[in-house]
Every structure is written in structure tokens, then in C-alpha cells.
């Protein structure tokens, strides 16, 4: 199958039951995408497909025809600096997924309100509780 990830086309041979997260992490070595629950409940594995946030752990790789963007494709996004500035990272295991979700949000709504942030980010669990800082980072992502 063919997969376009961060603007690059890849050809991979994987069984039909393989998830997008497995292809990204194990076939392409893009380990920035984390798998924390592997059943679509926590948001750590969030990537974008054609700009929309998608849970890569419950997405079959063979069903993906759009352009995939992972945290590796967003490393220079202003949100990264905003997260660092706001201390919106503790252990960091959920953080790439948070940034990917937030990037989709600010692309659709460049000046999101607190309510919009809370709505868009509610699927990304952070067990360390960095939420206040994540909210601050997204509110001030272009500063």
C-alpha cells in the first residue's frame, strides 16, 4: 500500500489488520506518535489525515487514502514553542498527540475561545494534569 506521511510517499507491505499507528511507529520509525491505550480512548496516538484529527491506533492503515501528518511533520509549528513556553508538558507521553490535535484546531479556528479549546482537546488525556498549561499554550500559540 501507499501512504503519504508528512508530504513523503511511502510504500509499505503490512497485513490488513495493521493499524496506522503500527505502520507509523514500526514500519516508518515515526515514534513521536505514542500509543497509550491502543483502543481509541486517550488521544495519545492522534495524527491528522487531510488536516482532521484521527486516532491512529484504531484506524486501519489500509483504509487511509488521505495525507497523513504526524508530530514529526509539525515540529516547527508555532504550537511547539507555545507548549514549551507555557510548561504544557510534564512526562510528555501525551504531548505529541496534544500538539497534533491543537494544530488541527488552530488551523480551523486561529483564535479559539476557551470553550472551543476544551471541546476540541477533551479527547486528549493527560494524566499528569498539564491541562491549564495546554489551554494557555493554545490561547497564546502565535505569541
Amino acid at each position: 500500500m501507499k501512504l503519504v506521511v508528512n508530504g513523503e510517499e511511502h510504500v509499505v507491505e503490512v497485513p490488513v489488520e495493521t493499524s496506522l499507528a503500527e505502520v507509523l511507529r514500526d514500519e516508518l520509525g515515526l515514534t513521536g506518535t505514542k500509543v497509550a491505550c491502543n483502543e481509541g480512548h486517550c488521544g495519545a496516538c492522534t495524527v491528522q489525515v487531510d488536516g482532521m484529527p484521527v486516532l491512529s491506533c484504531i484506524t486501519l492503515a489500509h483504509t487511509v487514502s488521505g495525507r497523513v501528518t504526524t508530530i514529526e511533520g509539525l515540529r516547527d509549528h508555532p504550537l511547539v514553542a507555545a507548549f514549551v513556553r507555557a510548561d504544557a508538558v510534564q512526562c510528555g507521553f501525551c504531548t505529541p498527540g496534544q500538539v497534533v490535535s491543537a494544530a488541527a484546531l488552530v488551523a480551523a479556528s486561529p483564535e479559539p475561545t476557551v470553550d472551543e479549546i476544551r471541546h476540541a482537546m477533551a479527547g486528549n488525556i493527560c494524566r499528569c494534569g498539564t491541562y491549564p498549561k495546554i489551554e494557555e499554550a493554545i490561547l497564546h500559540w502565535r505569541d
Binding site: 515540529r75 507521553f93 498539564t130 491541562y131
Partner: protein, 746 residues
């Protein structure tokens, strides 16, 4: 000079007498308040790699030829594996090795809970390993199950003897009190659910074992693995550079590490063993539930004269019994206290430390009943607490205590209650509550650090500790930068590898910063002393007139001002190496952390929904190294505590002992939508008796008082007494109904 001392060592509120070699710590503390680097907000040294997904966690380690291991777990809450046949697993495609009970520490024939590890399989893929584990044929003999902690106590199914404590004459004090309040409080089992599950990758290199593991204690894993496998500790190298959360559950090696190590030896290939989320929620530890039958008695002027508690720690099959009675013994100056704690051994998954174990549970009961007492006496809860504030820890003086200052700073938040209540309407009732906090957090020796100064003027702090997400790496860099008189960006910290740095303590018990921090400062001071010695020779000046400030070597008279990097450039490949050790804790003193939280809630009296709207947290943990990181710790603790209080609950099928809430869908941790406004303040007064820093730990204190403060705010808002965690809508509606005088629906 090294000194041998006999001392009491505290970890997570547990004490043991140990011999310790300590080195003198001749540095005097810096004056209070922000310095050039210490005490000023710093973004994390490792933020960028964590945010960009470049940080390599154990979960990301892929070694060439690596196999995957899966663990077979007991389907029964209590059973004995009479026969374990590995052959069916070995016949499956991709399976390379299988081990059963007694082949590796942690795999056992007697299973005391659903999920107890029995056997393990290594295969080419994770799916093949899981298929292999499922194929192992086990003949189970089922044994009797007990999952009810009260039944276990009645039948004497206990871990150890009940722990008893008494001071004064409790019965007499209750008999002569003006007011007595009694109540039963319960806290339910909650699960850590760090986002990186428990996991290890093991690889044998000759006769050395490399263990990459998600741990809070690289040295503890090293010792445990060496002992478990019967090899020398130096033959075990434990690595954990980035770690995806622990909260207390990752202090030990675990069966997954041993299974990976033994399977790696059997196959000659690296083996990875990672728990799934569902295994994590069954077999990776929990905060045990408690039942607390409490009594509080006072005189009409508000003096608390007696406190009593019968506590049951529902520990599960294994774990250790934390001091749920601790807050009752320590928070108030009450002369008459009697407690007994029984530890039920039941067929449920084992307890592991979870962020201030015992004190989180005990503070909920104590601080709620103290408020009920205040209400009965018609006294202001803040005044009640001030009046009864303890002046010593059961006779032992404090190294420092600024709880009175915390109370003073809480006043402005407490004053908001009239305005908050006034915003109530027919459906949403609003109110304000408070609770205080006492907990450990002083750390202790031993811990060591090295500093390495290169001719480029950059400094590396080397210490084999771990940063589990608390920001300790950054705090260590700040301490070294401050001592050496250089900006923070000149300092890196190399950590997380037992083969490449000196011993440092575990990242638990709020102990990392107070334990390792002073060693880092000592190591930086040692390097600085050597730089000054060299500069004195180079410029023919006395050492005592030289100092390093703003990365510049300066003399007291101002005549000498040489850029540090320029000066060091003459070193070439030579390096200046400093070493430092953590000095002893003050003898005869109790090192404790204190704080108070004021919470505003809104309660929907129709549906029982509780919303936490605002939390003001004031904590006294000595000197603050990094105010930004400290604030993050407080926010994180409060949010996790709100989860414990309102939504998190491990549910168990009482018939089979099976955990029902094994997913992050069923087990409800807080999301960003649940977060209140959080206001955070620190007293920031160095503990004059504690180390060269005067800093205590902060990982745990913020989670201690939040549940009681929410419970007390609910009472303020509605008049209802909540006695059980979590305060689900059902519990809230039950309490409201009880308040209205109707019989409680159970």
C-alpha cells in the same frame, strides 16, 4: 570527610533505621527569595524533545532482533496452577520461548487475584506472543475468594497485625467533651493509569544485562533484578532517560522486567515486555480503598480534645499498608488520639504507592469530620484549624513549619464564600470549603552528583536519577547554574543510567529535589572551587577574593573580570570534575510539608452533578527552585485529586473479583473540560535546618487536601455530608436526600 551515622530514613511515610555514610555539607544556604537562576521561572530543559516527540521513551525502544513478550495472567481471583503446559504455546508460529512459574521472579503458581502473572511467552510479534500466552494450558485448582475487606478483617485475613497508636486518654476525653461527632468515611480504589504502561526491554550483552525500563527508580530496579537473577549488581545496567508517568506505581522491577530478562537469556535476543492498558488497570498497582470509622470531640470553644479512628486498608493480595491514620496523628495539637489500622488481605490486585499513599485517604476523613465538628459548634472552619494547629510532631520539633502563613494567605480566598454562596440559584448551589495538608517530603541521603566543566565553559551535571515528568532535570540544572554563576543554558543534565552516573534516590515520596538537589549544589561548588583555584594561580590572586558571576571570573576589588569560557579555553581537553553528596537530615527534627486549599464548588441538586469551579492552593515546601515547574506540579496534583474525588473508581465484580473498569473509557480520569480555575501560591521560605538548599519536595502535597476541601465545599453549598469517594451523582443525591431527612436510598 565521610561520616558513618545511624539514622531513620523515610520514604513515602515509611521509616526504617539504617546505617548511612554521609559527607559533610559545609555550604551555607543562599538567602531566601529568587536568585539569579534559582527561584526564577524556567521552561524545561527537556521540553522541546518531549513536545516534538523526539524523546525516546521505553515504549519507543526498538533493538535489532527484538522479540515481544506477553504474560499469561490468572483468570481466577484465587487459584493454584496445578500443572502448566507450555508445549501448545511453543508449537505456535513465531513463538521462540516460553517460561512458567518459578522460571522467573514474579511468575507464581498461586494466583491471589485476577490478573496475577503465571507464565510468559516471547515471539516475533506482539500478536504472536499474546496468542502463545493464550495457548498455554493450565490446570487450575480454584480456591476460596474473599474480596470484602470487612469480612477479611472479621475473619483475620490480614497483612500483619493491626497497627495501634495511642496518646493521652481518648475515652476520658470523649466522655468530657462538649461535642462529639462520629462518622464513617470510605475511599475507593483508584488506578494510576500513567500513559506509558509498565514495560521493559531487556538485552544481554555478554554477561551483562541491559534493562531499558519505565521506572521511578533505576537503582532500585538494578538491585532487585540483580538479586532476582542471582547476578552482581554491576552486571545490570538500568536505563530510563524519558519516562511516561509513574505516580508511585513504578518503583519496582515487576514481573514484566524479569520475564523479559529471562526470555532474552533463553533466546539470545532482546525482548520487550509491555503491559497493555487493560493489563495496566488490573495488574500494575492501585491506591487501595479504605474504610475509616472516625470520632472527633471538642470543647465548646473549639479545642479538639479527642480524635479516634478505626481504619481498614483494603490492600488486596499484596502491597504495603500506608499510614491512613497519619494525618489524624500529625495535623492537630490534640492531646488524646487513638487509632488502629487493620490491613485486609483480599483477592484483589495489589496496592502500590500512589502519590502520598495513606495521607490522601486519611486527610479526606479527618478534614471532613473536623469541618462537621466546626459546623456543630458554629465555628469558622479556618479559625477552628488555626486554633488547633499542632506545635510539634508528637513531641518532635519541626525543622520548619509555615502553616500559619498558609492560613493567613488563605483568608482572601476564604472571604469569597459569601459572594460565592450568593451566586446560588434554585438548582445550582454554590459553596466554599477548605482542608489542610501535612505530609513528608524532606528526602534524605544518600544521593550523589558529579559536575563536568569543559573548556567550552559548558557544564554537565551527571547523576543517575530519573525525571519522571516532574521537572527535576530542570531544577538540577538551575541549582548547578546558580552555584557556578552561569546562565541556565550553559548547563545540561545527564541522568537515567546506572552505568553512567552515581547513585541517586528514587523519584517518589516527594524526595528527588530535596535529596539530589543538595548533592548537585555540592558538586557544582566543588567544580567552582577548582576553577577559582586555577584562576588564583593564573592571575596571582588569593582564592578568597575570586568569584564567578554572570559567567565571568571576578575579583572582589573589581580589577579582574575575565569571561569564564575564555579562561577555560586554555584547558583544551582537560575537564574540571566536581563531586557532591547529599548531607544528613537534621537530627531530632521532623521534616514535613504543609499547605491549605480553598475550593469553590457548584452542586446541581437535581442531578447530583458536582463542579469544582476554583481551587486556591497555598503550600509550604521550603525554597522553590522553579516557580513555573512548581505551579505545574500543584495543578497536576489538584487535577488528579479532582479525578479521585469525583469520577475515578475501580469497579470490581464481587462474585469473581474481576476488575470491570479496565479501559480509559470505563475508568474516568479528568479531561481538560473538568479543570477549574487554579490559583497557586508558595510560602517559599527555605527550611533553615534542611540541607544547603532548604527545599522540600512538592510532587505529593497538592493532592493531599483536595478531596476533603471539595467535600467541605459541598457541605457549605448544600448542607449535605458526603462520606464516600468518589462523589458520584448517586453519592451526591444520597447525601442530599439524607440531608432532607428522607431515608437514604441505597
Amino acid at each position: 570527610m565521610a561520616r558513618l551515622i545511624r539514622t531513620e530514613k523515610e520514604v513515602e511515610g515509611r521509616f526504617e533505621e539504617v546505617w548511612l555514610v554521609v559527607e559533610e555539607d559545609p555550604l551555607s544556604q543562599w538567602p531566601a527569595g529568587p536568585r539569579d537562576v534559582v527561584g526564577r521561572a524556567a521552561t524545561r530543559k527537556d521540553a522541546l524533545e518531549r513536545v516534538r516527540g523526539e524523546a525516546r521513551f521505553t515504549a519507543d525502544i526498538r533493538l535489532p532482533g527484538m522479540l515481544h513478550a506477553a504474560v499469561l495472567r490468572s483468570p481466577y481471583a484465587h487459584a493454584r496452577a496445578a500443572r502448566v503446559d507450555l508445549a501448545p504455546a511453543l508449537a505456535l508460529p513465531g513463538v521462540r520461548a516460553a517460561i512458567g512459574p518459578d522460571d522467573a521472579p514474579g511468575l507464581e503458581t498461586e494466583a491471589g487475584y485476577v490478573g496475577a502473572p503465571v507464565a510468559a511467552v516471547a515471539a516475533e510479534t506482539d500478536a504472536q506472543a499474546r496468542a502463545g500466552a493464550a495457548a498455554i494450558a493450565v490446570e487450575w485448582e480454584q480456591l476460596e475468594i474473599v474480596v470484602d475487606p470487612e469480612e477479611a478483617v472479621e475473619r483475620g485475613l490480614l497483612h500483619g497485625e493491626p497497627e495501634r497508636y495511642e496518646r493521652g486518654d481518648f475515652d476520658d476525653a470523649v466522655a468530657h467533651a462538649d461535642v462529639v461527632v462520629e462518622g464513617t468515611y470510605t475511599t475507593s480504589v483508584v488506578l494510576h493509569n500513567a500513559l506509558e504502561t509498565h514495560q521493559s526491554v531487556c538485552e544481554w550483552v555478554g554477561d551483562r544485562l541491559d534493562v531499558y525500563t519505565s521506572t521511578q527508580y533505576v537503582w532500585g530496579v538494578r538491585e532487585e533484578v540483580a538479586k532476582g537473577l542471582g547476578i552482581a549488581p554491576d552486571k545490570v545496567r538500568v536505563v530510563c532517560e524519558y519516562m511516561g508517568g509513574g505516580f508511585g506505581a513504578k518503583n519496582s522491577a515487576g514481573e514484566f522486567t524479569f520475564a523479559a530478562a529471562v526470555l532474552a537469556r533463553a533466546t539470545g535476543r532482546p525482548v520487550r515486555c509491555a503491559l497493555t492498558r487493560r493489563e495496566e488497570n488490573v495488574a500494575a498497582g492501585n491506591r487501595n480503598g479504605t474504610i475509616q470509622k472516625l470520632t472527633a470531640a471538642a470543647r465548646s470553644d473549639g479545642t479538639i480534645v479527642a480524635l479516634g479512628g478505626e481504619f481498614i486498608n483494603a490492600l488486596g493480595w499484596d502491597g504495603w499498608s500506608a499510614s491512613t491514620e497519619g494525618p489524624m496523628k500529625m495535623l492537630y495539637a490534640c492531646d488524646n488520639v487513638r487509632t488502629v489500622r487493620s490491613t485486609a488481605k483480599i483477592n484483589t490486585p495489589p496496592m502500590k504507592a500512589f502519590r502520598a499513599p495513606g495521607f490522601v485517604e486519611g486527610t479526606f476523613g479527618l478534614e471532613c469530620i473536623v469541618d462537621e465538628l466546626a459546623k456543630k459548634l458554629d465555628l469558622d472552619p479556618l479559625e477552628m484549624r488555626r486554633k488547633n494547629d499542632a506545635t510539634s510532631n508528637d513531641g518532635t520539633p519541626y525543622s520548619s513549619k509555615n502553616l500559619a502563613e498558609c492560613y493567613a494567605r488563605a483568608e482572601k480566598h476564604w472571604e469569597r464564600r459569601h459572594e460565592v454562596r450568593a451566586r446560588s440559584d434554585a438548582r445550582w448551589k454554590r459553596g466554599v470549603g477548605m482542608a489542610s495538608q501535612v505530609w513528608y517530603g524532606g528526602g534524605g541521603p544518600p544521593s550523589y552528583a558529579w559536575t563536568r566543566v569543559g573548556s567550552d565553559g559548558r557544564i554537565v551535571v551527571v547523576t543517575a536519577m530519573q525525571d519522571i515528568g516532574t521537572g527535576t532535570r530542570t531544577a538540577m540544572a538551575q541549582i548547578a547554574a546558580e552555584e557556578l554563576g552561569v546562565p541556565l543554558d550553559r548547563v545540561e543534565v545527564a541522568l537515567g543510567d546506572t552505568a553512567r552516573g552515581p547513585y541517586a534516590t528514587l523519584s517518589a515520596g516527594s524526595s528527588t529535589t530535596p535529596s539530589v538537589g543538595p548533592a548537585v549544589r555540592a558538586a557544582a561548588a566543588d567544580a567552582k572551587r577548582q576553577i577559582v583555584e586555577i584562576a588564583a594561580q593564573r592571575y596571582d590572586l588569593e582564592e578568597r577574593v575570586l568569584d564567578i558571576r554572570d559567567a565571568t571570573i571576578v575579583s572582589a576589588d573589581g580589577n579582574l573580570s575575565v569571561d569564564l569560557t575564555e579562561f577555560l579555553s586554555m584547558l583544551g581537553n582537560a575537564q574540571i570534575l566536581g563531586k557532591g553528596a547529599r548531607g544528613p537530615n537534621p537530627t531530632g527534627m521532623s521534616v514535613l510539608t504543609f499547605g491549605v486549599q480553598v475550593v469553590e464548588v457548584a452542586v446541581d441538586v437535581e442531578t447530583g452533578e458536582v463542579r469544582v469551579e476554583r481551587v486556591a492552593a497555598i503550600h509550604d515546601v521550603g525554597r522553590i527552585i522553579n516557580p513555573l515547574g512548581a505551579e505545574s506540579q500543584v495543578e497536576g496534583g489538584i487535577i488528579q485529586g479532582i479525578g479521585h474525588t469525583l469520577s475515578e473508581q475501580r469497579l470490581l465484580d464481587p462474585e469473581t473479583g474481576r476488575v470491570l473498569t479496565t479501559t480509559l473509557d470505563a475508568y474516568r480520569v479528568p479531561t481538560i473540560a473538568d479543570v477549574p480555575e487554579i490559583v497557586c501560591e508558595f510560602v517559599d521560605e527555605p527550611d533553615a535546618h534542611l540541607t544547603n538548599l532548604g527545599s522540600k519536595g512538592l510532587g505529593e502535597p497538592p493532592i493531599v487536601p483536595i478531596a476533603a476541601a471539595i467535600g467541605n465545599a459541598i457541605r457549605d453549598a448544600t448542607g449535605a455530608d458526603v462520606h464516600g469517594l468518589p462523589i458520584t451523582r448517586e453519592e451526591m443525591l444520597r447525601a442530599l436526600k439524607e440531608r432532607r431527612g428522607a431515608p437514604a436510598a441505597v
